[in-house]
């Protein structure tokens, strides 16, 4: 046991050894003039279930740091995690809200109905624009309203695509949503895709000219590493929504192959979603009831603890335009196995890529990472470096670059 004084001395020494430039406080980089942006969004933390909420939050935070102001439209009433420079507007705020009660359902995307989208878009279309320079819409939810608004006020429109209806529906798109995606893609002066793979899809499936599409990847925010859970079991982690496109069955089937030879491996499925019940049944059917832990929705802190404790991260998505979950795991130094089409594989080779249907290969990759400590260590460290190379600030700057393709930058 260390004496208290020793501990303090050691802590002080560690403090001293920590490189000074680890978290540089530098002035935000500013390009061109400050813009007033109208962002047509969907979810916003803390009530978010997927990557879109994270993306909106991080992007707006960095944009606001650079001096741009953002009016963020969301169908959901707060609370919103506040960011200076970002104001939130939702239909429920309106004193003469035309459809009373329509926007107070649960406050999240869960329980959202078809007609609600219609009403959300009608509200957007009539939004009182006040001196905005540009409208930026994310995915399909608000494209119809945003397009009408842009046309009415003569404002440029930028659309970011995080995933497409083809992908989310695994090839059985709902024509209603497809039409909304098309509306946005056609009206937008510039389209931002979160990976080159997604860009190709937009060109091939939606006929959008490649010249107006820009690829801007997602990023991860450097986070505090919490203390790891202690114990003899090594955690193989899936963390994300339990949606069909995420391929969590593959994770379970691979686990079934690995489990017999890796008695101390614990397979953890963290997250919630429509597939939950089916996956639970599948795990039982595969004889994995005592080897797989379903955690359901996890808090931020639980999430951080999991990321500090896991040995291997698996994202076996059938479709994964980017894969923020894998990027976050890599940022925590966990070696990741992702499916080949994941956007993240475009920015790093410090990740194992596997065909989403290849259960044996997923199982082998998991076993290899569990069996070879040098591999786990080296790949974890390299993966961390590669996803930390360009952060949200970089992505926001790239986004501003796209804005200024449409807005005069007014540089003096």
């Amino acid at each position: 046991m260390l004496e208290k004084a020793e501990l303090e001395a050691l802590t002080a020494e560690l403090e001293w050894q920590r490189p000074r430039d680890q978290a540089p406080i530098r002035p935000p980089r500013v390009v061109g003039r400050r813009l007033r942006l109208l962002m047509v969004g969907w979810e916003w933390p803390p009530s978010h279930s997927g990557g879109l909420g994270v993306h909106s939050f991080e992007l707006c935070t960095e944009l606001a740091k650079m001096g741009h102001t953002i009016t963020f439209l969301t169908p959901f009433p707060g609370p919103y995690t506040p960011v200076e420079g970002v104001t939130f507007r939702c239909p429920a705020d309106e004193p003469e809200e035309p459809y009373p009660g329509a926007y107070t359902i649960g406050g999240t995307a869960a329980g959202w109905h078809e007609g609600d989208i219609e009403r959300y878009n009608a509200w957007i279309a009539g939004f009182p624009v006040g001196g905005h320079d540009l409208i930026h819409v994310h995915d399909w939810f608000g494209t119809v309203g945003a397009s009408a608004l842009a046309r009415r006020w003569g404002l440029p429109l930028v659309m970011t695509v995080h995933s497409t209806e083809y992908d989310r529906s695994l090839g059985h798109p709902w024509s209603e949503i497809l039409a909304r995606e098309r509306t946005g893609l056609q009206n937008a002066g510039r389209v931002i895709a979160v990976s080159a793979h997604l860009k190709r899809q937009l060109v091939e499936r939606y006929g959008i000219p490649a010249e107006k599409i820009r690829v801007i990847y997602n990023a991860v925010r450097p986070s505090e590493r919490l203390a790891a859970l202690s114990g003899p079991r090594r955690i193989v982690l899936y963390l994300g929504r339990l949606a069909a496109m995420k391929g969590v069955d593959t994770f379970l089937r691979a686990a079934a192959r690995v489990a017999p030879t890796e008695p101390d491996a614990l397979f953890v499925v963290a997250g919630e979603g429509p597939e939950f019940g089916r996956l639970l049944v599948l795990a039982a059917h595969l004889g994995l009831s005592d080897r797989v832990l379903f955690l359901g929705k996890v808090t931020e802190e639980e999430r951080a603890t999991l990321l500090a404790s896991a040995s291997v991260f698996v994202l076996p998505s059938i479709v994964e335009p980017f894969g923020i979950a894998a990027a976050e795991a890599m940022a925590a130094g966990i070696p990741a196995i992702v499916s080949k089409t994941s956007g993240i594989a475009e920015i790093t080779n410090s990740v194992f890529t596997v065909d989403f249907w290849d259960i044996d290969e997923f199982a082998s990759r998991i076993s290899e990472l569990l069996a070879y400590p040098a591999l786990r260590r080296e790949m974890g460290a390299a993966g961390r470096r590669s996803v930390m190379r360009e952060g949200w600030e970089e992505r926001a700057l790239q986004t501003v670059g796209v804005y200024f393709e449409l807005v005069k930058d007014g540089r003096h």
């Binding site: 030879t261 070696p335 080779n349 410090s350 194992f352 082998s364 070879y372 040098a374 591999l375 080296e378």
Partner: protein, 404 residues
């Protein structure tokens, strides 16, 4: 002028999954290796050897040296026997010297004896069988050299060894003289002139190079203007037609060399054996190993990171089992796994230029793929060796043994 070209192809591994452990699947995808060999034979080996043959016919004073690994010979025999025939024909002229090395182009020099001796012996026997030739000059894998290796060369009665003409070993001396090894004075050292060698090997087709395009006249004039006894131009054989495709004019450049050299009275060709007969200028010592790879000229290309070191350490331990298994097939497979290329693929890019070179030569998507696949094969071999010597696997340090 000493022109020395190196011929080598590794047995690349197939994807051998962790789940394949114990399955009896082969580690090596022979079909794919031979396909690669045929491709390179088409672009490089065949056209270049043919040209070299013509040059030998046309210029009686033209001579050069070749090293051919055992794994190259195995693949050539299966994939392109005509390449092997051409090789035999040009060696028969008596003006093409062959060099000794390890059969498997391996890192055996880092293993305890007698592995290095055995592999050099295997290679000697192969050259004797294929060409009826008994070389007197030794080159170690990737031109590795150290005092210890000089002593080895002496004990094996070699007259010469090749070294990288690197400042770390020459210490201010020019690479254009013959030296003798400080710890083994009977071993003459030929130092690669890396500037002039890399002008052809790396820079020839680079449009960014201010000497582009390089013509034989200009190149020979540089050599003529270089003071000293000998200019050692050592390079990969695939420089001609593969690294620089024929469309860059590299083969015509090669063809023009003997004629151009003939017009310069001060220049003549020599094989490595002949150059090693020149009187030594001084002695050289190399307490640590130097090589011709990357910008650091050390062993970093194969054993620079933890993946590489852990894989090599594991291979070392499996080697003990492979030897004691008494099974020649297991021993051969283990030696194929010692081929330096496998470790080269596990290099994690650090320096920009080197990382590019490593990726160019790699058959994997990433160093992590390379490592995992290699370790799976090695663990499977370990299991097989253990089965032969019917020893229960102890609490080993290299991962647990698996059987399905």
């Amino acid at each position: 002028m000493v022109l020395y070209l190196h011929l080598h192809q590794p047995w690349r591994l197939a994807r051998f999954r962790y789940l394949d452990l114990g399955s009896g699947r082969p580690y090596i995808d022979e079909v794919r290796n031979l396909e690669i060999f045929r491709g390179i034979a088409q672009r490089s080996y065949r056209p270049t050897l043919t040209r070299l043959g013509h040059l030998l016919d046309e210029f009686p004073d033209f001579r050069f040296s070749l090293s051919v690994t055992g794994t190259y010979l195995e693949q050539a025999a299966r994939a392109a026997p005509d390449v092997l025939d051409t090789l035999r024909r040009i060696v028969r002229t008596g003006r093409v010297a062959l060099l000794s090395e390890t059969y498997y182009h391996s890192l055996a020099f880092l293993l305890p004896p007698p592995e290095l001796h055995d592999e050099v012996e295997l290679h000697r026997a192969a050259l004797q069988r294929e060409f009826g030739v008994h070389p007197t000059v030794l080159r170690m894998t990737e031109l590795a050299y150290s005092d210890e290796l000089a002593r080895f060369a002496e004990s094996e009665r070699f007259h010469g060894m090749l070294v990288e003409g690197w400042e770390g070993i020459l210490r201010g001396r020019p690479p254009t003289y013959v030296y003798c090894a400080a710890p083994a004075p009977t071993v003459m050292l030929l130092a690669r002139h890396y500037m002039l060698s890399d002008d052809v090997g790396f820079r020839f087709s680079s449009r960014q190079w201010n000497e582009y395009p390089l013509r034989a006249e200009k190149y020979v004039s540089w050599i003529a203007a270089t003071p000293g006894d000998v200019v050692n131009l050592f390079m990969d054989f695939e420089t001609f037609g593969e690294h620089h495709p024929a469309s860059t004019g590299i083969l015509d450049f090669l063809s023009a060399l003997p004629r151009t050299v003939r017009s310069v009275p001060a220049l003549s060709w020599a094989t490595v054996d002949e150059a090693a007969e020149l009187p030594p200028h001084d002695t050289l010592s190399a307490p640590t190993t130097v090589s011709w790879a990357d910008q650091n000229r050390d062993l970093g290309a194969w054993l620079g990171n933890d993946l590489q070191r852990s894989a090599f350490e594991a291979a070392k331990k499996v080697g003990v089992l492979a030897r004691s298994s008494g099974d020649p097939e297991i021993l051969e497979t283990w030696r194929r796994l010692l081929t330096s290329d496998h470790f080269y693929y596990m290099y994690v890019g650090g320096h920009g230029a080197d990382a590019g070179v490593h990726q160019y030569f790699s058959s994997y998507g990433s160093p992590y793929d390379a490592y995992a696949n290699y370790m799976n094969a090695l663990m499977d071999l370990r299991r097989r060796a253990l089965e032969r010597i019917s020893v229960e696997p102890g609490p080993g340090t290299m991962g647990r043994d698996r059987t399905r």
